[in-house]
């Protein structure tokens, strides 16, 4: 870990301004991912701006009938919130499927969106990795890629976005609310928030330098049945091989986002539209452009079957 300086911000705009003007500065939230990466010197900030005093820890109703989730609401608090559990079940379930109780107590809503890939080559500083060291090459391509992306990847990077929560946010059409260094604010649709790797895999999302997430806005409840099915090699405490976040209405229509398959939550409009025709039809559209490796080709039938499982549950008579 490189030495760094540390300060606690007093307002969101001030935090944004400090990070924007200080080279090598980064925000510190729960620290559950950043500190690990700093120990390995994958992240080497010279200054940390701790945002935990910013009082962004409330969940409030919006005028539009939705919810605004403060950036610092912990995963534990969010998934336990009565309104979230009642109206946004997919979100509560996705959060509960991730990490451990200890990590969820510490992890924040904004930080969860910003967690970096778990590609093993990204984590080993001896290995070439365009995401960690731009231009050094991608050792995952042609290497151990069982966990990695099957769709939306590039010749520079096949990393996945590893999180669960964002998959639910994606089917809910959440908006990421931010403040910039100059004090202006914006709301970024979650669909546009995470990037595909393309030629710049080192850039995970569209945030500008110093731009701070202040909260997440959820539109008014969708109704329907909410599902989060996470498939992994052990029963808990593992990243998804494939996950399916879905909201399915009585008429069979709905929305679906796939996790563990791409550099961002993977939701395709044409695939959503095919939901009434079944999992096969959805997967054909969602993975039409897929470029899997030999190691992770199985993720496409797995995603199909996981969605089929969700659809079967949606059709089953409710107890």
């Amino acid at each position: 870990m490189k030495s760094f300086t540390y300060e606690r911000a007093t307002s969101p705009a001030q935090a944004a301004a400090i990070v924007a003007r200080t080279p090598g500065a980064k925000f510190l939230g729960g620290g559950t991912n950043l500190l690990d990466l700093m120990k390995l010197e994958i992240e080497t900030p010279t200054h940390l701006v701790d945002v935990q005093d910013l009082k962004l820890d409330r969940i409030e109703k919006t005028r539009e009938g939705g919810l605004r989730i403060g950036a610092l609401v912990t995963n534990t608090a969010l998934s336990a919130d009565e309104r979230v559990r009642r109206d946004y079940g997919v979100l509560a379930r996705a959060i509960q499927a991730g990490a451990s109780g200890q990590l969820r107590n510490k992890a924040t809503t904004a930080g969860n969106l910003l967690q970096r890939t778990r590609c093993p080559y990204f984590y080993d500083p001896n290995m070439p990795c365009n995401k960690r060291k731009p231009g050094s090459g991608c050792s995952a391509i042609g290497g151990y890629s069982r966990q990695l992306a099957v769709v939306g990847s590039s010749d520079k990077c096949i990393a996945t976005y590893p999180g669960d929560m964002a998959q639910a946010m994606r089917v809910l059409d959440a908006a990421v609310e931010t403040v910039k260094a100059d004090g202006t604010t914006r709301a970024i649709p979650i669909a546009d928030f995470h990037r595909l790797p393309g030629d710049r895999p080192e850039i995970d999302n569209v945030l500008e330098r110093g731009e701070l997430i202040t909260g997440i806005a959820l539109p008014k409840p969708l109704g329907g049945q909410h599902f989060y099915q996470k498939v992994r090699d052990r029963a808990s405490y593992a990243f998804a091989l494939v996950s399916v976040a879905a909201v399915i209405q009585k008429d069979g229509s709905g929305r679906v986002s796939f996790g563990g398959v791409a550099h961002k939550p993977w939701r395709v409009a044409a695939a959503d539209a095919a939901l009434p025709q079944g999992a096969q039809a959805v997967a054909q559209r969602a993975f039409a452009e897929a470029r899997p490796t030999e190691d992770n080709r199985f993720k496409i039938p797995l995603a199909t079957r996981a969605l089929a499982s969700v659809i079967a549950q949606a059709k089953a008579p409710r107890a």
Partner: protein, 740 residues
């Protein structure tokens, strides 16, 4: 004490203390976090500096240049020791083939090439990242499947009991196999696995003149004292190891590792004590691992299920001069058949060193042999329990003149099947469903040798009547403290609370150590011998002449006279030291432990995920010294078997030559949610040829066969046979029923 004939009735047979499910006496220390593990021994020596190991960034090659100037100038840095400070590799320790430090050559990824010493851990870590190393990389051999076809025959021993010659033939296998009406002929694979114990390798080293003390975490104190002396080129008497608590080893800590060597070298250079815990990301590639195997099994049987021909071969890889994974060893002993063939091949690989991991040989060997037996049972249309029972043998099938000392495998099969409800299994696969779940039951046999080896101990009757036991035996989480205390209490007729046990110090008498499941029987037998001597000394001190003096309730009694045990130490402590010497008892009888494992699984018909529902093990392992500790060993081993069957695999990058998933996030082992109800049954067959304790090992038996039982249950659930471990969902997914 020479043990050269079966044990008669002796004080242990009273079973007043031994054989009871006593909670472990070191439990409170562990649950309160006060047991002194190596890295936390802040009080043993002042002024400890922190060492941080730098691992090689290439798998094979030579270091051209190292620039340590920035690291040496970094804040808090005391010294930097590099492998280039030594013109050639330091000598090898016992049983190892990869040099731990010294010289410019890199033999495997993450081999230690430098250690940075600083006032704090954070300073050492930060400085370590400043070292710049240039390598000349050379191509290596990293792909077992590619090297296997040209691998030569190679015999060997695991160092933990299991062993096999390069090739062994009994009868005429080829002819018998050709003639057999029912056959299985299949190839299977098992992956590289990592010990991944919770406590990493850790050592504090301190020099006093030319003598060095290491507070460390090590399973085999006497081996490692000698090894360390050899590696450091100093006399053994100048080395002291102290390892009272060990946070798991599984064979990874049988040997001296880089933490100990680097700490000793760094402390010498820094002229102050140095502590090192190996960083988790280095654990998989810096150390040893269970090597992957490609195994071929051919079984021939009569129509009524009698085996006429058994052949088992295994190909593994290792660094030059390495040894094979002895995966065929149990096949030489487990089932009767007149025509037999076993052989092993060994490829040269430039991956990290392959070496012993819990039940080396048998663990991967039985994962395969017992899956093949399941395939044979199906081919015969015979119950898998029956197939195993009718092919039982009470003698070494290769040397029919050598009987097993005790062998109750058939009882394990029958008892286990009854308790598990095996009769409810539908033998036809893929028939049982509960909603989305495909349900299956599977079973497998377990076999692991019972190794007899010398072990010594010292026992002292203190003035206050307490007993102190001292031996360099280790407790790797197994319960050694407790069973030694039970042994002393039984022998001397005192309550357990009167016994203090001190372990893991190389100044104590040399014991069996912990490995190959030999620790419990041999170490307690060594203490038994010392206790017999102490009983004589006590009797003499108290003026008893009679041969049959009774030790009970804190008193010594004979011929109507009785005295308090403590009386014997009134003039000063009484000390006795002796050892257990098993002579040739392990050769006159074939000695082993046996198990039958039963498992019920549910496989998600949509996603292919396997969830274990129930597990049961019925074990024949001699007298069980402490059923609570033994059960703990077996359920831990069963859990490890779940890992081996379903998820554990070191992923090899055959281009860069290393294990990619080298941390606990990516090398998955079972979590609580993976482990269901586990039941353990111990059959009560004391073995008088094993030792005066009549006990045997159990810690490795619990793992042997578990993986195959799970694999067979998955097959019973799905009808899809996966022959490549671990059985992850991708290997059967597309053969499961259509769902979309």
């Amino acid at each position: 004490m020479k043990f050269d004939q079966p044990a008669g009735t002796n004080p242990i047979d009273q079973l007043k203390v031994v054989g009871r499910p006593t909670s472990r006496i070191d439990g409170p220390l562990k649950t309160t976090g006060t047991a002194p593990y190596a890295y936390e021994r802040h009080d043993v020596v002042p002024n400890q500096a922190y060492g941080y190991i730098v691992g090689a960034a290439v798998a094979k090659g030579r270091i051209r240049r190292m620039d340590t100037s920035a690291a040496k100038a970094a804040p808090g840095v005391v010294t930097v020791v590099t492998t280039l400070d030594f013109p050639k590799p330091l000598p090898l320790g016992m049983q190892n083939i990869a040099h731990l430090f010294g010289g410019a050559d890199v033999a495997h990824y993450h081999q230690a090439i430098a250690v940075v010493v600083a006032d704090t851990f954070e300073q050492a870590r930060a400085a370590a990242a400043l070292i710049r190393t240039d390598y000349d990389r050379v191509p290596g051999r990293f792909d077992l499947a590619r090297e296997a076809p040209n691998a030569p025959l190679e015999g060997g021993s695991s160092g933990e009991g299991s062993a096999a010659p390069a090739i062994d033939r009994i009868g005429d296998f080829a002819k018998a196999f050709a003639a057999a009406p029912v056959k299985v002929d299949r190839t299977y694979t098992t992956p590289d696995e990592s010990h991944m114990m919770m406590e990493p390798f850790a050592t504090i080293a301190s020099w006093d003149g030319d003598k060095v003390t290491l507070w460390t975490s090590n399973q085999m104190i006497a081996w490692s004292k000698g090894s360390l002396a050899k590696i450091l080129s100093i006399p053994p008497e100048n080395v002291r190891l102290d390892s009272p608590y060990i946070g798991g080893g599984f064979g990874g800590k049988l040997f001296v590792r880089a933490d100990a060597v680097c700490a000793a070298l760094a402390a010498r250079a820094a002229r102050r004590p140095v502590k090192i815990a190996m960083q988790r990301p280095l654990m998989a590639n810096n150390s040893t691992h269970r090597p992957a195997t490609i195994q071929h099994v051919r079984l021939g049987a009569t129509k009524d299920g009698r085996l006429t021909a058994i052949a088992h071969s295994s190909t593994s890889g290792n660094l030059p001069e390495g040894k094979p994974e002895t995966a065929v060893s149990q096949t030489k002993l487990f089932y009767a058949a007149p025509n037999r063939e076993t052989y092993m091949k060994l490829a040269v690989l430039d991956l990290p060193e392959g070496n012993a991991m819990r039940a080396p040989g048998e663990a991967p060997g039985l994962m395969v042999l017992e899956m093949a037996m399941d395939e044979l049972a199906e081919a015969l249309d015979m119950d898998p329990v029956e197939l195993r029972a009718i092919n039982d043998t009470q003698v070494d099938p290769e040397k029919p003149g050598t009987p097993f000392s005790e062998r109750h495998y058939v009882e394990c099969l029958r008892t286990g099947a009854g308790r598990f409800g095996w009769s409810r299994r539908n033998p036809k696969p893929a028939q049982v469903r509960e909603g989305r779940w495909l349900i299956g039951m599977g079973m497998a046999g377990g076999f692991r040798g019972n190794i007899l080896t010398k072990s010594a101990a010292r026992i002292r009757l203190e003035r206050n009547g307490r007993l102190t036991v001292e031996t360099d035996m280790t407790d790797i989480g197994t319960g050694t403290y407790t069973i030694l205390a039970q042994t002393a209490a039984e022998m001397m007729g005192v309550p357990l609370s009167q016994v203090d046990v001190k372990l893991g110090d190389s100044d104590f008498p040399k014991s069996a150590g912990s490995g190959g499941q030999w620790g419990a029987n041999n170490a307690t037998a060594g203490l038994y011998a010392a206790c017999m001597k102490l009983r004589e000394a006590v009797a003499q001190q108290l003026g008893f002449n009679s041969a049959d003096v009774a030790f009970a309730d804190g008193k010594v009694s004979a011929g109507g006279r009785s005295a308090a045990l403590a009386e014997a130490a009134r003039a000063g402590p009484l000390t006795a030291e002796d050892g257990f010497d098993p002579t040739d008892m392990g050769e006159r009888w074939q000695q082993a432990t046996f198990a039958a494992h039963f498992v019920e699984v549910a496989v998600d018909s949509f996603t292919g995920e396997t969830r274990i529902r129930r597990m049961l093990a019925a074990c024949d392992a001699g007298r069980i010294l402490n059923p609570k500790a033994a059960r703990s060993q077996v359920i831990g081993a069963m859990t490890m078997g779940v890992g081996a069957a379903l998820m554990e695999e070191l992923a090899v990058d055959t281009r860069f030559g290393f294990f990619v998933n080298h941390d606990l996030a990516s090398y998955e082992v079972p979590v609580h949610a993976d482990i269901p109800h586990q039941e353990v049954i111990f059959l009560d067959f004391p073995d008088d040829k094993s030792s005066p304790m009549k006990a045997k090992g159990v810690g490795e038996l619990g793992l042997c066969g578990v993986g195959a039982a799970i694999a067979n249950a998955i097959y019973n659930a799905t009808g899809v046979r996966v022959r490549d471990y671990p059985i992850t969902l991708d290997k059967h997914l597309e053969k499961l029923p259509q769902v979309a």
